[in-house]
Amino acid sequence: MSFTMPVEAGAILGFARALGDLDPRWYDENSPAAQVHGGVTAPPTFVATVAQFDEDWPYRPRPGVPWHGSGKGPGTPAPTSGTGTSLHAEQHYEYFGPLRPGDVLTVEREPGKSWEKHSARAGTLRFEEEITRFTNQRGELVVTATRVRVVTERPVEA
């Protein structure tokens, strides 16, 4: 699958604020902090915001579509995880260039490896790898992201 994702200054600022990271490197083009990097760049995990542009992203309420979170009632189990929970096990990024405000990224995603393990705490664990490539408007591959998801058979105590 393939779709596009704009890299916007306001989105970068909001993302940095959500991390409590007020380094002007992420929002003030003329600051020395940004100038060291040739201008404003996005924080290392900014491509996590790809969820905003992914039509198939399951964790976004949509008008007219039942949502599994609480409302009048407490909600229903997530469609993707049955009686267990879908958790993020690992995340890896490789960077080949910067992400700057105004960039438009082409996002290409493909499944990677998958495997199973048994856990005394959570039953059978199914691991699934997903690889996402981000290419900018100049055709330069800038980031690859590898997400490893684990779906547990039952909830895991913290």
Partner: protein, 142 residues
Amino acid sequence: MRIADLQEGDSRTAIVVDGLTRTQLVMYAGASGDYNPLHTDEVYATQVAGYDAVIAHGQLTMGLTATVVTGWVDEADLGAFGVRFKNQVLPGDTLTVTATVVSVADSTHGPEAELALSTVNQSGVEVVTGYARLRSPWGTVR
């Protein structure tokens, strides 16, 4: 701080969140687009998903972990960054990140450094382990 100023064994420790709030989880959900109710909907998380409270987005903990690297070696960019999520992060948690220089070496595009990362909660339980590879800033190699 530049990569050239780093030596093997150098380390930096910093608190990246002091008492995580549910509001910060809402901020992160809105900023990232990850509206999984497990992270923001206490009713759902406790009554349906079976957790004691909402749990933090793994990516939030990862992003918080990165701030120690970018804030410390501020005259470098990341070439690679990866983590393993070891334990849940919950509202009220205070997270401390330690970044340690594992190696410094020269490459075709200038000096590079490998850092080992560890993020622990207020009980000393590791919530994230990871690595970062630092390289010269993008702006200087255009």
